[in-house]
């Protein structure tokens, strides 16, 4: 087991783009090697050691590597971007694009996450013990597919456009979500235990389950009997008719 501990020396105003911070990239590296890894800061690149105090315990393969951020990193973006294995734990808030395009491994965030959490994620797991901002598990601007696999669990609320253009995988939100969750999605499963507004517009495929209240249910859904999931019976709607969709929207 290799554990790499980071703590921010001083709160930064200009965001740090930490797409190089992944277990894949840290496995088997010493403290000095990790400190020398470059990250974008403004329009230039700086070594990680400039910003963080780094502690390394042990040395192991990527899958047995754990990265721990102690404290708030709310101006550090792209942590765990593209990671394929291992674990990242963030004990504080985190900035945008955390887990962007991740393929495997696990990210646990004990705080809030800014927008684009797990966008275009292909595999692995993100557990957010806090609330998320916009575009969780969605696609980059213009892409037809956002999240394609893996699981995002949010033990809190999320804001608008959750799971936009989602094509696979699973998102679970225990709290409420904002406007237009699952907009234009084409696969995958979204479970919202709280409330939602205008869910699943332009859905072509996939399943959306909403256990709380819905504001502004779209008229472009056809009711089609009931469906039982894990012992709970829901009203079943199929659509979005406007998009010729065959998606399933289950509500209470």
């Amino acid at each position: 087991m290799q554990v790499v501990k980071f703590s921010l020396k001083k709160a930064n105003k200009i965001p740090i783009e930490a797409d190089t911070v992944t277990p894949d990239n840290f496995a088997g590296k010493t403290k000095e090697e990790i400190e020398a890894i470059l990250v974008w800061y403004g329009n230039g690149q700086c070594p990680l050691g400039d910003f963080f105090t780094v502690e390394v315990e042990g040395s192991d393969s990527a899958e047995n590597t754990k990265i721990v951020f102690e404290g708030d990193v709310s101006r550090v973006k792209r942590i765990g971007q593209g990671m394929s294995t291992g674990e990242i734990e963030i004990n504080g808030n985190v900035d945008m694009h955390c887990g962007f395009g991740m393929k495997g491994g696990k990210i646990v965030i004990n705080g809030d996450a800014d927008s684009w959490l797990g966008c275009e994620m292909k595999g692995g797991e993100i557990i957010l013990n806090g609330s998320a901002a916009y575009y969780v598990g969605s696609g980059y601007r213009g892409e037809a597919c956002g999240m394609r696999g893996g699981k995002i669990t949010i033990n809190g609320n999320a804001r608008d456009y959750l799971g936009e253009h989602m094509c696979g995988g699973e998102i679970l939100v225990t709290g409420n979500v904002g406007l237009l969750p699952a907009v234009s999605n084409n696969g995958g499963t979204i479970v919202i235990e709280g409330n939602a507004t205008m869910p699943a517009s332009e859905m072509k495929n996939g399943t959306v389950i909403i256990k709380g209240k819905i504001s502004d249910m779209l008229p472009s859904y056809k009711e089609d009997g009931t469906e039982e999931v894990e012992g709970i019976t829901y009203r079943k709607f199929v659509g979005d008719v406007n998009a010729g969709g065959k998606g399933m929207l289950l509500v209470k």
């Binding site: 980059y140 601007r141 213009g142 892409e143 010729g244």
Partner: protein, 574 residues
Amino acid sequence: MRMSEILIKNANVCDPAQGINCETMDLCIRDGKIVESVSESAKVIDAAGRLTMAGGFDGHTHSAGKINVGRFMNPNDARRTLVPGLSGPEAMTEKTRAQVGYNTPNTYAIGYRYAKLGYTTICEAAIPMLAARHTHEEFKEIPILDKMGLSLFGSNWQVMEYIRDKEPEKLAAYVAWGLKASRGYGVKIVNAGGGEAWGWGKNVSGLYDPVPNFDVTPAEILMGLAEANEKLQLPHSVHVHCNNLGKPGNYETTIETMKMFEKVKPVVDRQALHVTHVQFNAYAGTSWRDFETGAPMVADYLNGANHLTFDLGQVIFGPAVTMTADGPVEYANSRMLHEKWSNQDIELEDASGVVPLSYSPKSFINAVQWAIGIELALLVEDPWKIMFTTDSPNGGSFVNYPEAFTYLMSAKKREQVISGFGKMALDRMVLPGLDRELSFYELAIMTRSMQSKMYSRPEKGNLKVGSDADVAIYDIITSDIDPSVEHEKVKQAFSGAAYTLKDGKVVVKDGKIEATPMGRTYWVNAKVPADIDSAMNKDTDIKFKKYYTVSKSNYMVEDSYLPNPVEISTEGEF
């Protein structure tokens, strides 16, 4: 001023304009031109026996104007890195600015990437005159390359009225005025009459279908503009995107259009007609169910005809962005493919649309489309009639040209691609039966030499004494390579020229940008007798007063938009 002299030694020259087929010789350059000899103080470039051609000339590409709509519709295109080194984000360097994109790269990337492929001249395929200022603004920001553009006339109210009223002289005067207003190089006709019909949600179904409210047919528009084109002695013939593009069975309309031009007598030593992206216009069958190649029929006609040239519009598998003044086609595309759609109304002049799509070898339609482009290139015997294009980015981005060259040069490479097709696709094409493989000489004709005559630019596309010193040296020793087998090597060599020289200046070395000089913009100023010109201007004054959203004085592209203009003057014959 000190003369700048370059001696390119041991160049394996392939220059079809002079009939030179891969012969090793020296090339002399002085002050940006090819010359007989240079002094001993000339800077020496050792080509070391590598393949040397004139700079490439892409005579039909969408690189300024509508491409910008493609850019903002496809922000994700900026991330695409499908062709390493020629696509995707690249940070700025000391010599180059930042680059992004694949099908719709930023302007700087367009210049750099064409230059890396050994291309030095491009022709923007469609300038809506009303938006010409924007086209030239983009031209200004495309480095290295020489540029020209074709102005759209095919659905223009004034054009159709003059044709209906049988006023050929005023029509010619209007064309001359339009070229000057938009600083265009030639006459482009897209789905003649269809752009106007599209304003009413309709289309024209063929050459003899009247345009709503104008009582003229596409055939009359084509013939009328061809006559005006010759009256003005323009350097390029009319450049035609045929009616019924993209529809099964359209090869008949295409051949009919080509036949109609047999009676047009060009007054300049060039073709009477250029038909563009014929791949999209060589479809047989009656619907997408029984869709099949119409290339053999079109090629059969082309082999017997000597009055025209055409370009391929080759399809490249993967994402593409269709952009055309053919508004109704783009509507059909977006509905059929459930894709994003941009539609524009160019007021009195034309329509236009942009739809992104993706060509997949698994789709039998796309597979047959891919085959048709190659079939045309192989079935038409005379390469001097053929310009190589992908109608970038309609059939695919120009950065795939090296890949596409290998389709033409290697039957093995084609087999490799064809092996991924389903039976249905194979039944609908004739490509698997074709074993012709093009030589470097034939490729040079299609990518640079024929363009010289086609656009009446004698200083382009060849290495004759007096021509522009635009030279591409590729890392290929022609005597040591069998392009049929070593197609990967060929592709690699064409993907990054060993040297590209623009006006005698090294702009690319070993596939890297060395310098980014500003290219020229060619435009045509056709002289028209003053009385006809003023009569025509009275008519257009009314158009501007009554219908246009801009005034006439604000319509004209001013000199300041062309930092490096080359005015081609012609005398109209009235």
